[in-house]
Symmetry: D2
Subunit: 94 residues, 4 copies
């Protein structure tokens, strides 16, 4: 069981909405919409995706890291924090 399991349905709903946004983008391009309007919609989808990441990271620290910290494997907690940091890095630079 992972951090996000509790809100799994919420994440799936958000991702289905993002999938719809990506299909909407294809429609915009297909109908030769104005470039800037397409870019605006791409930014909206990007924002929604990043918000999913931030939520997942929050739950990772809140549940996985915390459980590992309390548990008897401090090396596992260290590793999990290092993974979270690298994920934040990729997120900030994506």
């Amino acid at each position: 069981m992972h951090g996000y399991t509790i809100s799994k349905e919420d994440y799936l709903k958000r991702l289905r909405r993002i999938e719809g946004q990506i299909r909407g983008l294809q429609r915009l391009i297909d109908e030769d919409a104005y470039c800037i309007d397409v870019v605006t919609q791409v930014a909206a989808a990007t924002k929604a995706l990043q918000s999913v990441s931030i939520g997942l990271l929050d739950e990772h620290v809140r549940h996985c890291v915390r459980e590992a910290a309390i548990g008897d494997d401090p090396a596992r907690a260290d590793e999990m924090i290092a993974e979270a940091t690298r994920a934040i890095e990729r997120l900030v630079k994506s």
Copy 2:
């Protein structure tokens, strides 16, 4: 006709690939994948989306702004540049 019309097929192909990535994300969450692995895949999709935006903005300046600059409506060129700047702003902050 817009800046991206020439490479329309390429943009559609990239967006279909991103749509596949979003569906892959739903599968990962559905199968209770490790949080960090999900975040890594979200970052990959975000990167691909931002790269679409940058391409569209490039073609906007390259074609639309340029055409307006050469044309006899300098106010339209001004407006297009302002729109591009606001789009860059949303992109950087998304």
Copy 3:
């Protein structure tokens, strides 16, 4: 003469303010401030810096690219747009 020459003093003022923010950050760390407070101030400085970039890019397109587009060296305009796109890319990914 470059795009930003007209608002040069404004840019210098903003950069001096950012320099002050960076010195404030050193003070915070020196006084062992709470990590999250430091991160919040770093984010404020980052935001101010990115806003400088966006302003400079806007003026680059508004003046340099435009002048080149109207001028008799279309290859120079092409090059300037490519440079602007690469700069936006570095900005979005920074």
Copy 4:
């Protein structure tokens, strides 16, 4: 004592270097450097600042959150994680 205390000197050194980069930016603008060259240097300073943030967040989770998780105040750990998440959010959106 905070998470970053151990590497305090390293953070101060990095911030002094960034302060130098900001002064270099003022020099570039003062000497009317090419817009794109200024933007490139701004992106370098932004990157250095974000790397400071990521380091601080890593140590926040590694030390502060962890200590709170092990300690007898679970509400304090919850609060610290919420603070870290909001900081990541500001960072990603800055």
